[in-house]
Subunit: 265 residues, 2 copies
């Protein structure tokens, strides 16, 4: 059993950001959050801390209504160096409308229609934070995907869907499941997959006996108890532990992706 | 064995377009094609014929270079009622660049990043022609998708990928395969799927014995011999024949979708 750790990858990414900054590249970060959104609070702290540590200017917009959120984006849009980080869920009337107000080049979360469409059409430079973290793990640890069965539980546009597109681009046979699939079908599929990706935010779908001993498990979850969607260390060939696997990479990649959006590869 | 015929659906769609026109809605069609592109020629004829029959003005731009194609789009962009139909493959240097020059509201093919992204983010109004045809068949014949296994062979952004998104939205468990998957894995998967979708443009991947007798087969192919990707009538619960299944619906839906893009639902 090999533990796929995120730390060495995170360190490389942070070095990459520092090297960009030393070459004169810079962004101004605008963090939009709703203080009532408990789910987004740990994410917000992590991103603020790393941005500050890197010497990036942070404008912290705490909003509690649609109007305030739209105003915060308008403010950011006056700044050519702006990169917007939206801490979801924003708990406002129409979150997607706020996302779509962000110009593509400032859309660090990669959730505008334009950037989503670029990804969908095959450009992996537009992967979201979590999905690019999973790609980084696949690449760093040389995990073969071509011709392999990849089973993804979850279909959100920020996690499950883009991970599937990335795995498809790497020539995997990709299956998406979700909460409307029977537990029996879901577990049967899990047992025979080569790569199992947990991306639903739900605990208890997959039990110890549903893990393929010759498979690889990638857990994108982070639950209140500090563990992932799985909640246990699986007996299999390789797995990403929670904490320590996917999570540590995501925040640094979000910032690196923001630089790439502004300044290119 | 039930044959899922496209004709009754096509007739309803043509009626819908005529009713929109009688209410005063109108588009001006700009067809961009390369006369050297043999693959696109039958498509071009079908779309021209139906547009003309419906009394829609057609500007026929035959191009043979990147510059000519870009010029044709610039010309269309001067017309507020323009809907652009690109006959792919255009056989030019950068087809995607040409697609991206089309404004979202004139993008009848639904292949710009903006419209692709809207689809990817969950809005099924932005399905491509073929994928909305498959949706029309599913809906018209009340084919249950929720909780069912859907197996899609093909991952193009015009056919395979959007069909999968649509099936996922209908709560199916969706698996994508393609040419890099071994024939053994592909056929094994086909045999146990509830809904098999052929969308690769390749003959010979699936044989008679790979068809699930209790399944449904949807064939989006159209090959030189006038038959689909399958090439035979499968022994199963229901199937779309070629010719007569998906094909007849696509052209009429492309035109209806162009009206919807301009004037809304």
């Amino acid at each position: 059993m090999i533990s796929l750790l995120g730390k060495p990858i995170k360190e490389k990414i942070v070095d990459d950001i520092r090297s960009r900054i030393s070459k004169g590249q810079m962004i101004n970060a605008y963090i939009i959050s709703n203080p009532n959104s408990f789910e987004a609070s740990s994410y917000k702290k992590l991103i603020s801390d790393l941005l500050t540590k890197l010497g990036i200017k942070v404008t912290d917009s705490q909003i509690s209504s649609q109007e305030e959120a739209e105003e915060a984006i308008s403010e950011a849009n006056k700044d050519k160096l702006a990169s917007v980080f939206i801490c979801r869920p924003l708990m406002v009337e129409d979150e997607n409308r706020i996302i779509e107000l962000v110009p593509a080049s400032a859309d660090a979360d990669m959730l505008t229609s334009v950037n989503s469409g670029r990804l969908y059409k095959g450009d992996m430079n537009y992967l979201t934070g979590t999905s690019s973290s999973v790609e980084a793990i696949i690449d760093y640890y040389n995990i073969p995907v071509q011709g392999r069965k990849v089973f993804i539980i979850g279909r959100s546009i920020s996690v499950g869907l883009p991970i599937g597109l990335m795995m498809l681009k790497k020539n995997g046979m990709v299956t998406y499941a979700h909460s409307k699939i029977s537990l029996d079908d879901l577990r049967q599929e899990a047992r025979k997959t080569d790569i199992l990706v947990l991306a639903s935010g739900k605990r208890g779908l997959i039990r110890k006996e549903d893990i393929n001993p010759r498979g690889i498990v990638i857990d994108c979850g982070y639950q209140e108890d500090g563990k992932g969607d799985l909640g246990f260390d699986p007996e299999c060939q390789m797995f990403t532990p929670v904490p320590g696997g996917v999570g540590p990479i995501t925040i640094s990649l979000l910032i690196l992706n923001a630089f790439k959006l502004k300044f290119g590869e």
